[in-house]
Every structure is written in C-alpha cells, then in structure tokens.
Subunit: 353 residues, 2 copies
C-alpha cells in the first residue's frame, strides 16, 4: 500500500489502525533485548541459517549464472526486484514514510500558518492520538499532499534526508535506516556480485526512498521504482529551472501497479522477486509467469521477539500493515514461491545486533 | 514532439506537412550517392573532424574522469542523456514511429474490420495522399491510439520488432536502424567506456524505442525514457498474467516533459545532454543548471547532400519536424551550448558509407 496514494490502494482500516499505534510510537521507549548473535565470518549469506530458503537462493543464482545450465540467464537480463516495507526493512508499527508525513506537519504549518486551525492539521498538531485515529481518508490525503508536494524536488530531498538522519524508531531508538534486514542486504550484494541488477519496487514514495536507497542498500536512484507523483518544470526569479512536486499521481506502485511500474521503469520482466504482502502478489505472479526459472520469495514475519509477528502463521487479524493474508500464503504454496521464516531462516535480523 | 501524444505537444502544421511528404516516402526510390569516406582507423571518435565540437566532448570527458580535476564527477553520477529523432538517427521525412503507425493501419483494420469504412482509417487505406494530408489532429490521435494501444506488451513488441526488420527508408532503401549517426554511436561508446551511463530521452514512444535500442545503440530498455502510456495488468483464460497497453498518457516526454521524465525515470540530473530541437530545450537547460561543468550539445542539420538541411542556418521554414528554431540557436549561443554542424563536424554520417 502506498503512503502517498491512499485513495487508490489503501485499506482505510489498515491506515487507521496504524494511526492508533501512534501511542506506541511516541510513547516511552521500551528497551528491547536483542538476542546475542555471533557473526559467523566467511561464507555467502552468513546471516542465513541453512534451510530451504537459503538453498533456493543459492541454487537459483548458481544455475542462472552457469552458461552450461538449461536455465542460464544472460547478464543483461538479470533483473531482481525487491519490495521495501517489510521486505528490506521494518514496517511496524507503521510505514516510515507515514511517520515522516505526520512529523512534517508542524514544519508545514510553520510555513503556511493558515493551516494551523484547519483540519486535519489542527488534530495532528494537538497530538491527541484518539482524535488522530479518527481522521478520515480524505484528511490523510490532505496530510500526505501537504507534506510530500508543493516544494521543489531539491527542497524535498534535503528535508527528507535531514529527517532520516535524526528520526528514531521508537522501539529500538535507532535511525530507521539501521532497521534494514541484514540477511536481505546480503542477498542484494550476492545478486549484484553475480551481475544481477537490483531494484526496489515499493508502494512507498519513489522520491522518498531514493533519498537513502543508495547509501543504505547500494541501490541508485534510477533503480528505485515507487509510487510517483508528477513534477512541473518551471523557472525561478533568477531564471534557473526547477522541478516542483505536484499532487498528481503518475504511478500507484502497489498490487497490479507493481508489474505496471516495472514495465514503465525497467521494461523487462524480472528473474527474481522478493516481497512480503498482498501488495507484492502481482509482482511475484508477473515474475513467475516468465519463461525459464524465476526466484519468487516471500518474507514471513513470524519473529515476535526479534522483530514482529503478523500474518497467517500467527492467525493475527489483518488490521496491521503489510498483510500477508492466508490467501497469499495459499498462492505461494500452490505456485512454488518460497516463504522465508524470519524466525527460522535468519540467524540475525539487523546488522547491529 | 511525440508520436503518441499529438494533442499535448505537437504542432498540427508540422504533422500535416510530414504527412504531405508521404508522396516522397512511398514514391519511387531515388538513388542517393553517399560521398566516399575513408574510415580512419585508430583514435577516439574517428568519424568526427577536428573542431570545437569534438574538442568540447574530449575536454569534458577527460576533465570529469580525472580525480585531480576541479570538475571531477564520481562514476555513479555520470549520467548522459540523448534525444533520439534527429540526434541519434534520421527524423526526415517524418518520425519513424509515425511511419510505423500509418503502415500498421491495414493490419489493425484486418483484425477490426469494423474500422474499414470509418475515418480516418478509410482515408489511410485509400492511399490518397492529398486526403491524408488533410487529416485532423483528432484523426491522427485515433490512428496512433489504434496502432499503439489495445494489445499486450508482448504482442506490441513482436509487431514492432518485425516491422523494424523489414521496413526501409525511402531515400536510402535501408532499414531505419541503419540510419543512425555513426559519430553519435562513437560518442555513446566513448562515454560508456568512461563509466557514463547512457540514456535515450525521447519524445518517441518508450516501448517502441526499447524494441531496438539495445541492439542498435547498446542502450538497454531500462535506460530508454520516452513518451509512455499506461498499461493494465490482467489475466488470460489460462490464468497467466499479461499487461495491456492502454490509451492513457503517463509521460509526454517532450519539452518540459523531458526534465520531468528524467526525474521520474532516472532521479538524477544528467551531466551530459545531446539534442537537436526545441523539444530538447528544457532538457539542456535542466542539465546546464546543475553545479559544476555539464556538456550540452545540439546537432544542427546543415548537410543537404549527405542527410538533410533544415533549421536556422538554412533559413528554412519551420514546417518540418525537429525544429531547431532561431530562438533555440540564440539560447545555445548565450548559454554556451555547443552546436554540432553535421556538415563540418562529421567525417561520415552513417556506419555503412
């Protein structure tokens, strides 16, 4: 689901329930004891335990880079796509970009004081979480539009970069960019070392993710595909051109929007796709429908101790973000997609444990 | 200007005058004597004569790859963008993609016979050039929509590929893909050899250009930015997913749409931009407005013998496609953009001379 395109793909209940989690977010920090892990040196994918998931990755890569293999893939066709939220980094208690938008409201109101007493900005400024949880979809759209559009691309980049450097996840008290999954960083590197071009294909805002993707994932801006709004070319008083971010949706990169976005931005069918929710279903289907072998993987959040547990394995209600529904689980099983158990397949979750 | 988005950027007079040239296109083939050129072996950019244009390219590349240079550019930032029509290949007597659309009409009507007696298809089928020259913009839009949308992405790719292999340019009786400018192929290679990532940024259809760009220019699909329509994800009777090309414009990659498209698809400001018409103006401005040195080049068509002469140097009317207007010429001079004279700067025009 998309932080910047709530009307087109977002389940209202989901978003409101995430807003209800604001109490957790802004509440007192709970110390979390991460289990001590000895980083084993040497070997590929060192943060992965031996098991079917690790073997699926190894077997696929080895076979597709071996020219004598029947499923050899020529280097220029080696495209690998990764969902971000819940696949490469933590998506609970809510999408990082939604937190960004809510936290940007005071700064936006400071620049546009006429918003101060207007809803929904008034409610967000009040900090009254009960009232915030009652915000309508239309209210949320206004918040996203006000915080993600109307400024130049350069201004947005500078603001988002500054925020990413200072904001902290409430549970771990660490920058969000440190809450990326170490096993997935290893997969990205392993694929790139074998000439795979790695892409992020996210429901999150393309411009937002591009701000940190190169530094955090080693993925350059041109390999980030995300929900994208239009921009408008214009000239400043000094005659210098600039691009303004417009509240006009060009690509809603969720669900069916993911293969559509892949076609628009990449123009080739991927050989590798990693996701974790219903928003990634069509991307995995599209990848899997290509000729020859394709690697399709789904991350299952089943580790309440080290991260979070939600989805079919836990029988949790689907009111949380990043829904890995029972239907998706069934499709994965029937189509031979490999489910990654965070609890069993990952030796460690974060780089800094 | 865009073959698939005539209403948003296309000068009606321009298109109609190109239609009037159909007589030339489908007329008897005129033998053209290409001046004999001795290919000089050795050296970079061998098809370039010594002169300010060749030196501008050399000086820029040498300085930006030299770590001790004040204008050094780190490899990940080395983005170079190229217009296609009139910059990388011949755009006269009309855009290749417009010819494709007109020539596709009989096949489309064969599949949809109800169009046979409906305008504008009836007129195109008649072959009456006088009548075709009178087609309205709305008529032309219908032709483009009927020939570029409504089929699956795979079907379109197969059709366009087949056409490119068999279609011939009326003047040279050669495939269009052989009418690419040899000096520009050398620039593309020279830049790539120095870690520049080369992109096409064209008003032409993104899907159309992607069909041959890798083979012809060494530019992969993901590095082709063009005018793009939406696609729609769906399932066949066999349950297999496919993408259908929709008559919905996502990106009109002309004029201001070029920097907007560069932001959408690349997310970085280029260091190098080559164009040849007013449709490239904003792309060159946007490139030039970045910090540090940037290379901005405009191809001037001033060689009536070996190719075509049109634009300010010839004082020709601006009724032809690819208008290099006097105003653009002035802007180039005032902003230090380098104008490439095809007549003087290019030792040869095509690879096969």
């Amino acid at each position: 689901m998309s932080p910047i395109a709530p009307s087109s793909g977002m389940n209202r209940r989901v978003l409101l329930s995430t807003l209800a989690l604001l109490a957790t977010l802004f509440g007192p920090l709970l110390p979390v004891s991460a289990p001590a892990q000895t980083a084993t040196a040497g070997g590929l994918l060192p943060s992965w335990n031996d098991g079917p998931a690790k073997h699926a990755i190894f077997d696929f890569v080895r076979a597709t880079i071996d020219q004598s293999s029947p499923i050899y893939v020529s280097p220029e066709d080696r495209i690998a796509v990764f969902d971000q939220d819940g696949t490469l980094w933590v998506e609970h208690p809510m999408y990082t970009q939604v937190i960004y938008c809510l936290e940007r409201v005071p700064a936006v109101v400071a620049k546009r004081p006429e918003l101060k007493n207007i809803e929904p900005f008034k409610t967000v400024l009040s900090g009254n979480r009960e009232a915030m949880a009652k915000l309508s979809m239309r209210d949320l759209e206004k918040i996203l539009a006000a915080t993600l559009t109307g400024m130049s691309v350069d201004e947005f980049n500078a603001e988002a970069k500054r925020w990413m450097e200072t904001a902290r996840h409430a549970r771990w008290n660490r920058p969000y960019t440190e809450l990326v999954y170490q096993p997935m960083l290893e997969v990205l590197r392993y694929l790139r070392n074998n000439a795979y071009k790695t892409y992020i294909v996210t429901g999150g805002g393309q411009d937002f993710v591009r701000v940190y993707a190169e530094k955090v994932y080693g993925i350059p801006p041109e390999q980030v595909v995300g929900t994208a709004g239009g921009t408008k070319y214009g000239y400043g008083k000094d005659g210098k051109p600039f691009l303004t971010k417009e509240p006009k949706l060009i690509l809603n990169d969720n669900n069916a929007g993911k293969p559509e976005g892949i076609h628009l931005m990449i123009g080739r069918r991927p050989y590798v796709a990693f996701g974790n929710s219903t928003g990634d279903r069509q991307m995995l289907e599209w990848t899997g429908a290509g000729a020859g072998a394709r690697l399709k993987m789904l991350v299952l959040h089943d580790d309440a101790t080290r991260e979070y547990a939600y989805g079919p394995a836990q029988g949790l209600p689907d009111t949380k973000v990043g829904t890995f529904t029972p239907a998706l689980y069934d499709e994965a099983k029937s189509k031979g997609w490999t489910v990654i158990s965070m609890k069993n397949d990952w030796r460690r979750i974060f780089a800094l444990e």
